[in-house]
Symmetry: C2
Subunit: 479 residues, 2 copies
């Protein structure tokens, strides 16, 4: 083990500062004791935390020995006792998982109180290899195969305080050597509390066996993880760019991705965007499976919107107005922004004048005498949010309302044939949430204009139409 290399890792990969407090977890085993000795030797400002899991008869004796290790060095020592069995029972966890959760909770709580720059733990290169192999056996994606980072922020316990692992490139054999050389006397039995049963089997059975297939396996896996980390970092940068471009709304418990832009991304990026959406909305580190990701991507690729769908961990998916919404079921989505009328209202149209609808939308109406250029404009109108209607064909009263069951409509271009309005709108791919409150303009009983779609055949402008009603649907921002 090179002290220079460790010092460089601490300042570069871990980005630790000498003048800021640092919380170190110390079990008393070789890894954490070696880490403590290194950090102390290099002059970092240490606060040492020992979590007593009270799981074994010698736990108290060990805690005392750990205290001596710390006080020998004149460092500040904090110890916490935790009830692992109770925690395991309450949250249906294995004893190992419960111990781990409580341990990190204590470390980060202390770090928070001390405004520490980081929590430092003693994971080694061997731990890294085990982690990568565990992810492999689970068939993980690149984000698992890359292994643990030297510096994790955000992490499962904090969004502000990084979890730092300076020994990730240091082998256990090097640590044992260091302890011998520096006359350190680690405890021997508490070191494996971090390891679950699977990890222990992996460490003691599988890795030695795999090493028999290809000697030097550990080193190669560690190197591989390093390469994959570079690849993954690069991809994550691309995802950040894509995220910037795709996310069009973000609020408490929800976010929306512009579908067109999302679908234009390579599949590898689409999967990561969906994952990032979940990570943004779920507190802690969610357990997102391949199937979860796959389901969301499939949902985003269905040709037409079909309302919303349950996704995972209390989240739902919805496609609306060209956006993919990812939201907690209980989240209030932002007020809708499409043209709309309050349900049940029947608004007399002001002519000439401005009729307020809802959510800031208005219809502006004016009488226009068509002639030459203005006739041409009316006949060749490309804007679906304005219309010219032949005034002589409009019976009174002129009103704005939203669609009603049984509404029929004779759209321009179908020789006066009737269609069911509901079916017509669904062909136009307006999402259901939007369709229900979409404004329609009626004259007498007949629908004369569906904004965004056509005017009615009856009220169409003909080359000899002179008196017209010009309607414009628009949003008043301050409304």
């Amino acid at each position: 083990m090179s002290l220079d290399a460790i010092a460089e890792t601490l300042s570069k990969a871990c980005r630790l500062e000498h003048d800021q407090p640092l919380v170190v977890g110390l079990s008393g085993g070789p890894d954490s004791l070696c880490l403590l000795d290194l950090l102390h030797g290099l002059g970092y400002r240490l606060h040492v935390v020992h979590v007593n899991h009270l799981l074994r008869p010698e736990a108290d004796k060990d805690a005392q020995l750990v205290r001596e290790m710390v006080e020998q060095r004149g460092l500040l020592f904090y110890t916490s006792e935790v009830d692992v069995h109770k925690h395991a029972e309450t949250f249906h966890l294995t004893v190992e998982a419960a111990a781990r959760e409580l341990r990190y909770h204590c470390l980060f709580e202390q770090a928070q109180q001390l405004s520490a720059q980081a929590v430092v733990v003693g994971h080694t290169a061997d731990d890294q290899v085990e982690t990568v192999l565990m992810h492999l056996l689970r068939g993980s994606s690149l984000s698992g195969l890359r292994g643990m980072p030297f510096r994790a922020l955000p992490n499962a316990w904090s969004a502000e305080i990084p979890l730092v692992r300076p020994l990730l490139a240091t082998w256990r054999t090097e640590i044992d050597r260091y302890c011998l050389d520096h006359d350190l006397h680690p405890l021997t039995d508490t070191t494996n509390q971090d390891t679950t049963y699977t990890r222990n089997r992996l460490r003691h059975e599988l890795i030695p066996l795999l090493d028999g297939y290809q000697p030097g396996l550990r080193k190669r896996i560690l190197r591989m993880a390093g390469l994959l980390r570079e690849d993954d970092d690069l991809l994550e940068n691309l995802v950040s760019q894509a995220w910037q471009s795709c996310v069009v709304e973000q609020g408490d418990g929800y976010l929306a991705l512009r579908l067109e832009r999302f679908r234009a991304q390579p599949m590898a990026i689409q999967r990561r965007l969906v994952r990032r959406a979940a990570e943004n909305l779920i507190v802690g580190v969610p357990d997102i499976t391949y199937d979860d990701i796959q389901r969301a991507v499939m949902f985003a690729h269905q040709p037409s919107s079909t309302g919303q769908s349950d996704w995972m961990a209390g989240l739902r998916l919805a496609v609306e107005s060209g956006d993919l919404w990812v939201a907690a079921w209980e989240a209030d989505l932002p007020p809708p922004t499409w043209p709309q009328v309050q349900a049940g209202s029947l608004l007399p149209l002001e002519v000439p004048g401005i009729t307020p609808l809802a959510a800031g939308w208005v219809i502006q109406a004016e009488r226009v005498t068509l002639d030459g250029e203005s006739l041409l404009a009316a006949l060749s109108n490309p804007d679906p949010y304005q219309v010219w209607l032949a005034e002589e064909c409009l019976p009174e009263p002129l009103v704005v309302r939203c669609q009603q069951p049984g509404d029929e409509f004779q759209p321009l271009g179908m020789q006066g044939q009737s269609v069911r309005l509901r079916e017509w709108m669904s062909k136009l791919k307006l999402p259901s949430r939007v369709r229900a409150s979409w404004p329609v303009v009626c004259a007498g009983e007949a629908i004369m204009w569906v904004p965004g779609c056509q005017p009615a055949h009856l009220a169409r402008i003909k080359p000899d139409t002179r008196q017209s009603l010009h309607l414009t649907l628009k949003k008043i921002d301050s409304a």
Copy 2:
């Protein structure tokens, strides 16, 4: 196994056309027989090749049975006998590797003669999982962990004819089922010729064992490879873009990457660029190790050029004029393009006139009377490839030569202090190959101008200088 899915794989992932001939390798085992039956049923134009390795006593009998399978279906049959032991001995290969090499050689030779659209082989999802695990045990990068592609072009045997593997998503159990259902009778003993010893151990020992750790391992590894393939494809697209921007010279056995642009790439891309450079220069599929890549990247990052360095597989690395050259040792690099003079020559400077140097470079000389604007231009000259010298300070003769051992120079801006020319040039980061033939202009014994650098203190233009010699170094393209 879904026939529709296979048909889609054949046309989409494998991009096979129904109207172009196709070479199918048929060992007679379940995988290749199932593949043959599927392709035949779907109406592809098949030419079936069986390679007889003559390794086992029943080889001839098997070849006869395979012939019957093919002729039953009314297909064209080709058989080749190969001498595996001789090939293994000649090229120091294992018997398995030699058999594999000869087999693919036969398949592609036949495909070449028939102008076939592809060579199709029967690798399965199980083969894929084994391949990925073998790469993992070797600590491969993403390009290994992604596994085999459905369609490989270029491949180790051809740059024009793709190697296609339509059954990569089909499990062996599905194939066995298919053979049963379709009353196919594959040979049982020749199927494992493709497998090296490592692969056999992996298949029969390791995978069942790993499956015991995490049941369903095979499926998860296959799915993982699919995800990694998407990631790798995306990264390879980025590499192609970077390649376009970085490669500034490419010829027979060499290529050059503009260093500044290369170094500006993320490390993951730099590694891949270096790999792609090797793949471009080495015939076949080179065995490029992590260390090879690492060495080349380190070479490209050394702060100053140190000539050239041996790399791998007959290639060398060199940094020159801001470019990283990757070249076969025996390749003739393109003629150098920097300003230069033939070694040992002493060229009288034509004044006024044009003096040809070497490699198309000339110095153009003219007498200029300085006054007002022209004096200002001379005093504030920003172009290192032209100079104005005070004519009254230039003793005869005026000559151009390259540097000589012991040359000294009094550059402008150092109050007439002398520097060793060699050291001065090396400070200017001119590479050694360039320095040796770089032109200098002398008057009498003294160096008056080092093009690209300064004029001499002695011959500098002062505000009262009137008679000047204006020199311009330039390249005549047609020279």
